[in-house]
């Protein structure tokens, strides 16, 4: 039923609402971007303008530590510090380790649950899936105590520990995929003399790029944005990830107004990696996110 798309009142309304939603979604980000270029003294006078009168990079210089403390305070800084380069690097390492190791571990486990008959497999798989239901606040305290006892506070290992070994959703998702792989390809490999590890590495993994990337994409999003755990573990500035650094930058101004210019510049910098990811992997990200609901 191919109809020429008629311009009906309903369609007009729908377009209008869709565009409104787009504006509502994007406008705050553009407004933040504008603010980041506004000199400290002009925040009030330009608060309703869409473009700054005298654009400046001083906010960016400030957050990258290119200004001395005096200059920084003169430029409207609160004297608070954010080492955005360090926290950016921390975020990349934190996310990178978790995405790579967790995806690999989960693929291994998911393959075993899908294809290798072993004692207790059903029970353990059920337990893995059930682990998704435990609110993170429940395991938070014991995990924190464990990290403290192991002396892993303020360490990268302590930050990645609860995440990088296993994730219930990833195991569940990948198992569903491995089950759907044609079994006779693996049987052919078995007859060809490959053991389970070889079948996994030489046959199953190379055929699983798409779902592995989906899992990796979702984990990247979640870990890049993870706040509470790194917030508890990384109290030292040198270990803070981006969300933690931003939060502490914001709350370092106990009296009066925060350093809006600096904060907004930091916000923009923190947004850029997401936008770049979205630019290059937009389709994969959208589809990965949609996958989570489809089971």
């Amino acid at each position: 039923m191919i109809l020429i798309k008629k311009i009906t009142p309903a369609r007009c309304v729908a377009w209008l609402v869709l565009i409104t939603m787009l504006v509502v979604t994007l406008f705050p980000l553009l407004f933040v971007a504008k603010t980041s270029f506004v000199p400290a003294g002009e925040l009030y006078t330009t608060s309703t303008q869409l473009l700054p009168d005298n654009p400046t990079l001083s906010n960016y210089k400030k957050i990258f530590g290119l200004l001395s403390t005096e200059e920084s305070i003169a430029a409207g800084g609160s004297g608070a510090n954010i080492n955005i380069t360090t926290s950016m690097i921390n975020s990349v390492i934190f996310t990178g380790i978790i995405v790579i190791v967790q995806t690999f571990n989960c693929a291994l486990a998911a393959y075993a649950f899908a294809r290798i008959p072993f004692y207790g497999s059903k029970l353990l798989f059920g337990a893995f899936v059930a682990s998704m239901m435990i609110p993170s606040v429940v395991t938070l305290i014991p995990n924190f105590v464990l990290m403290r006892d192991l002396g892993l506070l303020n360490s990268m290992l302590g930050m990645v520990a609860p995440f990088f070994l296993m994730h219930g959703f990833a195991v569940f998702f990948l198992r569903q995929f491995f089950i759907s792989l044609p079994k006779d390809i693996e049987e052919a490999a078995q007859l060809d003399g490959a053991n389970s590890f070889m079948i996994f590495f030489k046959i199953a993994l190379p055929l699983s790029w798409a779902p592995l990337m989906t899992v990796a994409t979702l984990t990247t999003i979640n870990m890049w944005n993870e706040f509470l755990w790194p917030f508890l573990i990384a109290t030292d500035d040198s270990m803070k990830t981006l969300p933690v650094a931003l939060q502490s930058f914001k709350s370092q101004t106990p009296q009066g107004q925060p350093d809006w210019g600096g904060l907004m510049a930091a916000t923009v910098i923190a947004t850029i990696p997401t936008i770049i990811m979205l630019f290059f992997f937009g389709r994969r990200i959208v589809e990965s996110v949609q996958f989570t609901g489809g089971k």
């Binding site: 004692y119 239901m133 606040v137 464990l146 944005n225 706040f227 996110v289």
Partner: protein, 294 residues
């Protein structure tokens, strides 16, 4: 005998495969979950030895107004957040399904969800700033009185809900859109041949067939929102006047500001039970796992 030996051999392989994940599960899920229950029976400030107090923490909890207030605020937050978020998401999804397949539109709609809670909170902290924020400028433009938003005890939780609706409605829309695209087009074609109106189609075809996605969205977003923490930690820190001290914020505060590990654990175990009960109930009511398609 031969059966045993082969199953044993494949079991060996099985456990080698799941070994890292199993360690992760035992060390960071199973054991801590059990330990949380254990800690909840103690009085423990992290420095001294834990001291067994039996059910005291639970008794204290039931008599603690702040605990009940936290639960109430979390539930209130869910009620503010979820219906609007789902409605807007559904509306967006239907509009996008009809109007455009543009990846740009999808990506733009999804963008807020891809930003961290902390970032989103900062963005809106600025937008909602009573003096410098653009929102109050717009309010003034329409001749209304400026508001304090996150600074007003009556408005803070609503503002936090609004912020998270903004962040999550794109996600909802994407999930619903994926669900919509699994509904075969011929259903609508045969319905339109029978003279069914668009609105009836939505009610009689779209909504019933979206049920599995709806259950997923409901369960994950309700349990997720009930555990709201990040946004509040950045924007209001539980204030003003405890008006946003939701349950998880109260738990974290007890644990890591007051160092009342036992009490915090008791509350978190209780929270876990509530979430579990809700999930099971919801799945039961909505017949979650069944789809009417295929």
């Amino acid at each position: 005998m031969s059966f045993m030996s082969r199953k044993l051999k494949s079991s060996l392989f099985g456990y080698l495969f799941i070994f890292p994940a199993l360690i992760g599960f035992l060390l960071f899920y199973a054991w801590p979950a059990g330990r949380a229950v254990g800690i909840s029976f103690t009085d423990w400030n992290l420095l001294s030895e834990p001291y067994y107090v039996g059910l005291d923490n639970y008794v204290e909890m039931l008599e603690d107004d702040q605990f009940w207030n936290g639960l109430k605020l979390s539930a209130y937050y869910v009620l503010l957040n979820i219906p609007l978020q789902i409605m807007l998401g559904l509306f967006l999804a239907v509009a996008m399904d009809r109007l455009t397949k543009s990846l740009f539109v999808k990506a733009a709609i999804l963008l807020p969800y891809l930003l961290s809670n902390v970032l989103v909170a900062l963005v809106w902290l600025w937008m909602l700033d009573p003096i410098l924020g653009i929102v109050n400028s717009l309010v003034a433009f329409f001749g209304l009185a400026p508001q304090a938003y996150l600074g007003d005890p009556d408005q803070a939780l609503v503002s936090v809900a609004a912020i998270n609706i903004w962040r999550h409605m794109g996600l909802c829309a994407m999930l619903f859109l994926a669900g919509l695209q699994t509904i075969p087009k011929y259903l609508y074609e045969s319905a339109s041949l029978e003279g069914v109106t668009e609105f009836q189609m939505f009610r009689k075809i779209t909504l019933p067939l979206l049920r599995p996605v709806m259950v997923f969205v409901l369960v994950t977003s309700v349990t997720g929102s009930f555990q709201i923490f990040d946004t509040i930690a950045v924007t209001t820190a539980g204030g003003p006047l405890d008006s946003t001290r939701v349950i998880v914020y109260y738990i974290v505060q007890n644990a890591f500001s007051f160092y009342k590990m036992g009490y915090a654990s008791a509350m978190s175990v209780t929270l876990c039970m509530i979430m579990l009960a809700y999930t099971l109930l919801q799945m039961h009511i909505m017949r979650a796992s069944e789809s009417d398609l295929n």
